[in-house]
């Protein structure tokens, strides 16, 4: 009986992996090692396995392709693109009768992830398809930004994770991918076009299985992906560099991104050595992270879009004060002391009850952008706050009743902490 001569390729090979029944084709693996979790459609056999307190996904696939996909997933992981994390490749499998068995690629099962089919077989809000498409468009743009050509974009090759009201998308199948420094328009367009075809096909399939609301227009959703993608790509890649006293343009750019209604919000801002030029590079992040991040940095507990706005301002502050290399938390506290709190304090007490502090701040930022554009110069915050109070806030109705909160006091206490 020919022995198996198993070879593991992994960053941190786990000898316990060898205890799995590699001499058995994956389709025939015993129930007791398998983890019953939802999975998407695929040509290869894919199984989830409980292994040492975690779940791994095992895919039987040709050896060359397995190594290739492993390497690509490693690179994607390294550059922090949302994708499944590779564990390793095992080759040299043989059945007891000597027959060679296919190599396997092992990845970590992505926790809380849902294949799109599982999402549709549950009772879900009617706009599920749209939200999935939004998430996929974001992922595709992120992949293209780092030079990753996917070659096989589809809902099946994407995993979705619930993220507040929306979804975050992860790449699961990198088999056909390629990583380049930058992609050509031809490469990007091909991905987008194939995504459209695949999505329409996948939705038509759900419709055929009566898993999709009858009113859903599959082709329109496919087209929506193309549109979302283009919008996002254009907004993200239009490169912008300007003199540092034109800082209002940072806010203008942020505004444009927020207007798109995407879960896009972080801008990376860099200044050159002598501080005369500012370059902005927007970054895409998962929804829900902003409020958590802001809380961690400043102790301020605000809503998602408010948090997003405040973090952007914090980033502008870091760039403006040339403190990109200082510890984030320290700069954040300085920002609270020097920007956030003085701005709120500039609003007379009796008017402060009209809006939550974070909302006030957000509106003042808006206002500053507005008057900076008009004046074609950077209006400093104190001046903006004063103008806002006189020209806007005085004329607004009280909102504390609407919010049902005692604004001011509670937040005030938090700020002291």
């Amino acid at each position: 009986m020919p022995q198996q001569n198993l070879q593991i390729t992994a960053v941190a090979p786990d000898p316990a992996l060898l205890d799995l029944p590699w001499d058995v084709p994956l389709v025939d693996w015993p129930e007791d090692v398998l983890a019953a979790l939802p999975q998407g459609i695929s040509r290869h056999v894919v199984r989830f396995v409980n292994h040492g307190g975690r779940v791994i996904a095992i895919k039987e696939i040709g050896e060359t392709v397995a190594y290739r996909e492993y390497e690509l997933l490693r690179q994607l992981h390294r550059i922090e693109v949302p994708s499944v994390v590779p564990v390793g490749v095992i080759t040299g499998r043989r059945a007891p009768d000597g027959e060679r068995l296919e190599a396997v690629l092992i990845t970590e099962h992505l926790q809380f992830s849902l294949p799109y089919r599982a999402l549709f077989s549950q009772d879900l809000r009617p706009d599920t398809a749209t939200r999935l498409i939004d998430a996929l468009a974001v992922l595709l743009v992120r992949l293209h930004l780092v030079g990753f050509y996917w070659g096989d974009v589809s809902l099946s090759n994407t995993l979705f994770r619930r993220d507040a009201e929306t979804f975050a998308a992860y790449l699961v199948d990198a088999e056909t991918g390629d990583l380049h420094r930058t992609l050509t328009n031809g490469q990007r367009n091909y991905d987008v076009d194939l995504a459209r075809t695949n999505i329409i096909g996948e939705l038509m399939d759900l419709a055929a299985g009566e898993l999709l609301d009858e009113d859903v227009d599959e082709v329109a959703i496919g087209d929506a992906l193309v549109e979302r993608y283009q919008e996002l790509w254009n907004a993200l890649t239009g490169s912008e560099a300007f003199a540092s006293d034109d800082r209002w343009r940072v806010a203008a750019r942020i505004e444009r991104l927020n207007d798109l209604g995407f879960d896009v919000g972080e801008l990376e801002i860099t200044t050159d050595i002598d501080g005369t030029k500012v370059r902005i590079q927007p970054k895409v992040v998962d929804a829900g992270h902003h409020s958590r991040r802001l809380l961690r940095l400043t102790g301020l507990d605000v809503q998602e879009n408010q948090a997003r706005r405040m973090l952007n301002d914090l980033d502008s502050y870091r760039a403006a004060t040339d403190r990109q290399n200082d510890q984030e938390q320290i700069v954040a506290h300085a920002w609270v002391r020097q920007v956030f709190r003085p701005t709120i304090d500039a609003v007379p007490r009796e008017l402060r009850r009209k809006l939550e502090p974070a909302q006030l701040f957000h509106e003042i930022l808006d206002h500053r952008w507005f008057i900076s554009q008009q004046a074609q110069r950077d209006i400093p915050m104190p001046e903006a706050a004063e103008s806002y109070v006189e020209n806007v806030l005085r004329h607004r109705p009280d909102e504390d009743a609407v919010l049902g909160l005692p604004p001011g006091e509670a937040e005030e206490a938090e700020l002291e902490a």
């Binding site: 459609i41 040709g62 099946s156 380049h180 367009n189 075809t197 695949n198 038509m204 399939d205 299985g209």
Partner: protein, 372 residues
């Protein structure tokens, strides 16, 4: 029906200096099955993508038939990428799986059905049309994926490594299906692969690319029997051809202890730059085992014997005075000899072999181009 012509077609990716495809000239006949083959990164996919209109052409032209399509949008080129989208949808019938791209394009229902039925007849899938894909075998599933391209009735089929992620058995099976289907349909096809065996078994003609440059075009036989240069010689054939650079003295090539006669016409093509050397290639099956000491033979020390049922191959080291040459056979730097599987030598044995007359290939030691 259409011919395809690459006329000095060149692609330079932004931010790179060397063209990914450099002045490609290639004429593909109407109905021909042409395979583009070469190692990873040689520019196969780029060539195909230029033809598909997915990549800008930075120099030269591309024609489909008489029409210059260099600047024509992909959708207006009347070509189809086969296996571009191969997922079979479980809830949809086989017919819907084949026709859904037409449905997206807004083709009338009756026409979709008609085209799907025609394709199904060719693909031998008629009786499955109204069933779900679950009922199909692996091979039939591949045929449905082909059906998706066939129903579009394009002038040219394009395929980029369509078999690379199938398992070995299905790969061989699908290879045959694609080749025979293409012959029946007679649609001009450009097929990309890095696998020379696939190229040899499928193509009417093969175009070998290396580093963006076309090395040679020809029938599988021509490529095998008369490689134009050292690269093609080493790339085509499995196991690979033995290739080494040897001294020439008195009209003979010194291979180990052997003096292999060199054609006078070939010798006359050598230049001073060659420094009295030629590069000689001989396939493992062009070597005959002979008794040790036979004139014109050289000795090989056996390092390993690979037995493949009907064939056996010796991997060994060339012995003799002029043995310290840079001899390679594909990936290995050993010499490969095909031997009778019934008389297999042991590791460490020394065997003598001679090159069959007329079965060596001589290349310039400097340019690598074929001599004679």
């Amino acid at each position: 029906m259409a011919t395809v012509t690459f006329d000095h077609a060149t692609r330079v990716y932004p931010g790179t200096e060397r063209p990914a495809v450099d002045q490609l000239n290639l004429e593909i006949e109407d109905g021909e099955f042409l395979v583009l083959v070469g190692p990873s990164g040689c520019g196969k996919s780029t060539s195909l993508r230029m033809l598909a209109g997915l990549e800008d052409v930075n120099g030269g032209h591309i024609f489909i038939g008489d029409r210059d399509v260099t600047d024509v949008q992909p959708k207006d080129r009347d070509i189809a990428m086969v296996f571009q989208n191969y997922a079979l949808y479980p809830h949809m019938s086989v017919a819907d799986n084949m026709g859904f791209a037409l449905k997206i394009a807004g083709t009338p229902k009756a026409e979709i059905r008609q085209r799907v039925e025609e394709a199904a007849k060719i693909l031998d899938l008629t009786e499955y049309l109204d069933r779900k894909p679950k009922a199909l075998s692996g091979g039939q599933r591949q045929r449905v994926a082909m059906g998706r391209a066939i129903v579009r009735q394009p002038q040219v089929f394009l395929m980029d490594e369509p078999l690379s992620n199938l398992d070995a058995k299905l790969r061989v099976q699908t290879r045959t299906q694609i080749a025979s289907l293409q012959r029946r349909l007679g649609v001009t096809t450009v097929y990309v692969t890095h696998d020379q065996t696939e190229a040899l078994t499928m193509g009417d003609r093969i175009a070998v690319l290396n580093a963006g440059i076309l090395q040679q075009v020809g029938t599988p036989r021509e490529m095998y029997d008369r490689p134009n240069n050292v690269f093609v010689a080493g790339f085509i054939g499995s196991p690979a051809m033995n290739i080494g650079t040897f001294d020439v003295k008195d009209g003979h090539v010194k291979v180990g202890s052997a003096d292999v006669p060199l054609d006078r016409s070939i010798a006359s093509e050598m230049t001073d730059a060659d420094g009295g050397k030629v590069t000689l290639g001989f396939r493992p099956e062009a070597l005959d085992p002979v008794p040790v000491g036979t004139p014109g033979s050289f000795d090989v020390e056996v390092n390993l014997v690979e037995e493949l049922g009907s064939d056996a191959f010796v991997y060994g080291t060339l012995k003799g005075d002029a043995a310290d040459v840079n001899l390679t056979a594909g990936e290995t730097n050993q010499l490969i000899v095909r031997i009778d599987p019934r008389t297999v030598p042991d590791k460490g044995d020394v065997i003598a072999v001679s090159i069959q007359a007329g079965h060596s290939h001589v290349f310039s030691a400097t340019s690598g181009e074929r001599l004679g």
